[in-house]
Symmetry: D2
Amino acid sequence: MVQAATLIAPYQLEVREYPYPTELEPGAVLLRMLASGICGTDKHTFRGEVEQYPGSETQRGATYPLIQGHENVGIVEAVGEGGAFAGDGTPLEPGDRVVPAPNRACGHCGPCQRGFPYVLCDNLDSYGNALAADVAPYLWGGWSQYLYLKPRTGIFRVPDSLPDEVAVLTEIFAVTHSLERAAQVPRPSGFRPGDSVAVIGVGALGQAHAIKAQLMGAGRVFAIDPSQKRLDVAARVAGAEAADADELRNVDLVVNATGFPGSFGKAIKMVRDGGTIIEVGAFVNMGEETFNPAVLCGRHLTFLGIAGEDLLVYERTLALMARHADSIPFAEMVSHRFDVADAPAAMETALDAERSAKVLITG
Amino acid sequence: MVQAATLIAPYQLEVREYPYPTELEPGAVLLRMLASGICGTDKHTFRGEVEQYPGSETQRGATYPLIQGHENVGIVEAVGEGGAFAGDGTPLEPGDRVVPAPNRACGHCGPCQRGFPYVLCDNLDSYGNALAADVAPYLWGGWSQYLYLKPRTGIFRVPDSLPDEVAVLTEIFAVTHSLERAAQVPRPSGFRPGDSVAVIGVGALGQAHAIKAQLMGAGRVFAIDPSQKRLDVAARVAGAEAADADELRNVDLVVNATGFPGSFGKAIKMVRDGGTIIEVGAFVNMGEETFNPAVLCGRHLTFLGIAGEDLLVYERTLALMARHADSIPFAEMVSHRFDVADAPAAMETALDAERSAKVLITG
Amino acid sequence: MVQAATLIAPYQLEVREYPYPTELEPGAVLLRMLASGICGTDKHTFRGEVEQYPGSETQRGATYPLIQGHENVGIVEAVGEGGAFAGDGTPLEPGDRVVPAPNRACGHCGPCQRGFPYVLCDNLDSYGNALAADVAPYLWGGWSQYLYLKPRTGIFRVPDSLPDEVAVLTEIFAVTHSLERAAQVPRPSGFRPGDSVAVIGVGALGQAHAIKAQLMGAGRVFAIDPSQKRLDVAARVAGAEAADADELRNVDLVVNATGFPGSFGKAIKMVRDGGTIIEVGAFVNMGEETFNPAVLCGRHLTFLGIAGEDLLVYERTLALMARHADSIPFAEMVSHRFDVADAPAAMETALDAERSAKVLITG
Amino acid sequence: MVQAATLIAPYQLEVREYPYPTELEPGAVLLRMLASGICGTDKHTFRGEVEQYPGSETQRGATYPLIQGHENVGIVEAVGEGGAFAGDGTPLEPGDRVVPAPNRACGHCGPCQRGFPYVLCDNLDSYGNALAADVAPYLWGGWSQYLYLKPRTGIFRVPDSLPDEVAVLTEIFAVTHSLERAAQVPRPSGFRPGDSVAVIGVGALGQAHAIKAQLMGAGRVFAIDPSQKRLDVAARVAGAEAADADELRNVDLVVNATGFPGSFGKAIKMVRDGGTIIEVGAFVNMGEETFNPAVLCGRHLTFLGIAGEDLLVYERTLALMARHADSIPFAEMVSHRFDVADAPAAMETALDAERSAKVLITG
């Protein structure tokens, strides 16, 4: 049997047992889990705050029972008939250490055929998020000993130099394609080497943005967060300077990585005229804010909404993390590790933002 | 003496006389006016709604007395010592028919030296908008028989095939660099040939966007406006289909070209997931709207605020208009013409949006 | 039985009969052909000039026997089990009029998983080009009464307003994603509305580029070609001015759409400093030219090599062609139509460039 | 009197004396030199290889007598009437430590008014390169105790953390806007975080590219150079791996930073299909190479010619260098320092590429 933490209903997380999947459909992959992160969205889901992608074609609510866990790293245990391919085009073999993409696009809807990122797919399968644990083979999330991956899921090799606890952060770093988008937006907006970058909220997603900004050539990196602990981590992993939202002004690029109300207004005050705001934290509907379109227009601003990571950057992201594995203490982003059997304690720890950073559930 | 319409205070527009400028500083140019448009901003200014670029470094209020008129075409009458150059780098001579840029950047502030568009200049001179008519040589706006242009103002030759009443629209078309920006934003956002485009508000600025979208290869162009007359013009000049804001959905690119409250929320409903909104109409502060950052984020939207035209597109814009001068009835955008002496009647006509489109004041 | 023109060896084109495919694999589509074009590559292949993508991972030679024909339009006759989807994500049904993409990427090699265009796929299936007619179900090319399409081939609905003889040009127009790439290259290079564009060689590929340049807002379009007939067509379909390669200078963007030696050197002379050259015609190895890297560097030039069309632009390209179906006489690009049974005569006609433009083989 | 090294004719470099410029024209700046580099172009000029920008509007030959030196850092000694502004828009004062741009665009020619980089200016003033030392006030190059800067020359403040011998490298780093251009070129080409980069020739220009690639997030950096010494420096300053041009293949981005014949062909072999080559070394005409346009086309390659640095990146480049001043041993790029009085010995040292890297002449 396979142990997996299962969310039965809001606030009810328990460890259940599922049958070991002895048969795989062609092209599927079974992963023995090494580690799976608890992310902000997981906490929202745990609390029943489940209105995701509000107002979009992809809008969706809760799924119970749910095995959560979409930030994953594991070892290939078995491959279905016909084989499966890593992101570099080579065949996957048992024993390969890999990061699976947490979403699987259908490939045939309009947005997929238009080459859009998978957050826009009309039929998205989201591991750990929207595939119910009462549908065989059940193991659709990473807070489990094994994870079942459907055919044509993106699966990426982990360079040897990356330890599991860093590789598990890949999904978060893949969201920072946001900064790569900004790098392509023409001046006076966008992001260029030497530009100043401010990150509002340096939880794991914010830390990843601060690090990526640093790695892409930011001139200065500022972090805004109520937690001194997080600011300290941001300083060590990204060379980020702590800043006060009420004083920091005239920043080239502002990344809003909190999901909390009021932060967007702060971002607008912080950014320079002609500058850019990346809104990447408001993934769950936390309510409206007031906003003056004359500010967007008159100050010549650009806003980039980023609904999630992009499949196309996983391979390159892993290469980048591997290159800097020695010089950047990525692992400082992780504060706790728990066995699958202790998933409820893991969640309890993660909910205490004061005490914890990224919490991992290990397979 | 030179006649010029002068705004003494809100709602007080009168024709005054100024001395003919017999001496020009080196590099300055005196223009004999052929035509000058009345634009939406002019109407705001006339009514005393004068908070422009709200919240920006460039924020500014009213200037009285003011000779308005920033959409201009004229004939070079005289050139100051040392000469002046057209946008193509050739020397300007008396008799040349030209369109002057309505703004003049200082060239030495930070934003100017960073190559930013002139709306971001810290020391912007705005003809017809923010240079007071009580400062010699007084003739700083186009609703006048002559217009005085400081050294290093952008001045562009008008191709012979463009009549005055079309050339005078150049400034408005230069604002459509907005669409050129969108064309550079990476997918799934941005603007590509074959994309659908909706324009909310087809006054002159909206018409220019509809035409430019058509000329850049839009697959479909939709126009939203309460005035049937305007919709008819949009159909003829841009092949635009009239649409209902409450029904139109899933548009690749939405251009909000009204300055009116509530329109931004409509744009958000109209745009497809992953799509782009250009906010170009809210140049004057007309109040706040509510807005949900989770929509920007979760729907993966991009917002481009455009504070005005870009000096770099004038020359190309004139080439583009000249190419299509025969096939596009640009002149239908113009509804009335008045002498400078009749400027008050011109403004009265322009304020009646039901009865008029672009109103011109001819030199 | 199904009739199909088959190339047995260089210069040996004969009409053969193949069994009608009564069974389709899941997801496959059988197309009843309406029309298929003869393109420059087809003529090269006919003559045995078959070294394609020279020096690349995709380099390949000849395939015999070969049913040629990769510019196709047809009617869905049958769909394999499980169905197939049009590019807009809707299910395909018998009777749908569609344009199929002529290449089918594997989806699992490195370049595919990196989101690269299918010309870079390591395992490309090319209908009409590199799938041999001695492998069942044989009907891999469009010069046939029926065309067999493997699962996950791109298949795009044809708007009603496009006649077959225009829809068949879609593949050629899809190559003009070249201009969309150029539109994203930053200044001083790239392609912007109002820019001048020169097209060297206005066969069908060149005509398509001239038309697309016009539809994307070119300020002037120049055509260079020894054939007055082609120049006349370019004038009518794209408003192109005939130009002399030895005199035309200082052009913003040059498209080299010939496969002939010496043309690249002409393009270099024609382009302005800081400008861009699109090399899209030299698909088949026709020999080396001399070239001075100091010109590329010192003149700040940009060269964009374009190896073929991009799957992602088909749907938008069809929308764009449909919009202009009334105003642009696309059909003038077509000079002759032949039945499949007369394919040898069709090829003979096509080889006489003086007498013919695009030659079609109708199903 | 002011001492300045002066090139009288090829191979004739001597130290001459010039009058101290006691009067400055309005807006001019006199700089007391701290350091000035010897670059590859200077060596070409010394040897009489002086055909620069071959084939372009800007093509030019030699200028004698010439005070060379265009990689400069100095202290503001005096400012002409009316003042001058640093790149950040603040007024320059005596005592300010600054890097001046080595080129000064006219601002009024066509390319300047189109916003093109100054390498495309029709009337470029090039300090240390094309302003003759027999025209008052003579001090037009940096191998001198003082440098005279005309009004409206770009002048940038040096952050305190950058020592003179690093600040003097700014001009070279400003050429790496090449990589920023590449970052904006759409996929499959261009440069994205995690991409592999190969630099052919790691003299100072190549080292700067290797460092910048590293700072913009390269996944791997390869250096190709016959000198082990240079390869060692590249490893320390940019984490670059030494590679063999005959073996290295499938690189995302290749930077050709040598001016030597044959290197371009190597770059073509090294780059992956769909990849990008930056040609930045062939500034001086060193002869033709053979080249097959079918490779450019069929392999879907992109070539970016870069004729020099871009004024717009100086300020950001200095910010970036300052950020990494502690972690990157930039000063290892410098091998020797000589007084102005010893300029001939400096040149002799610089010509011995085996023995020297960047050689500085200090004021």
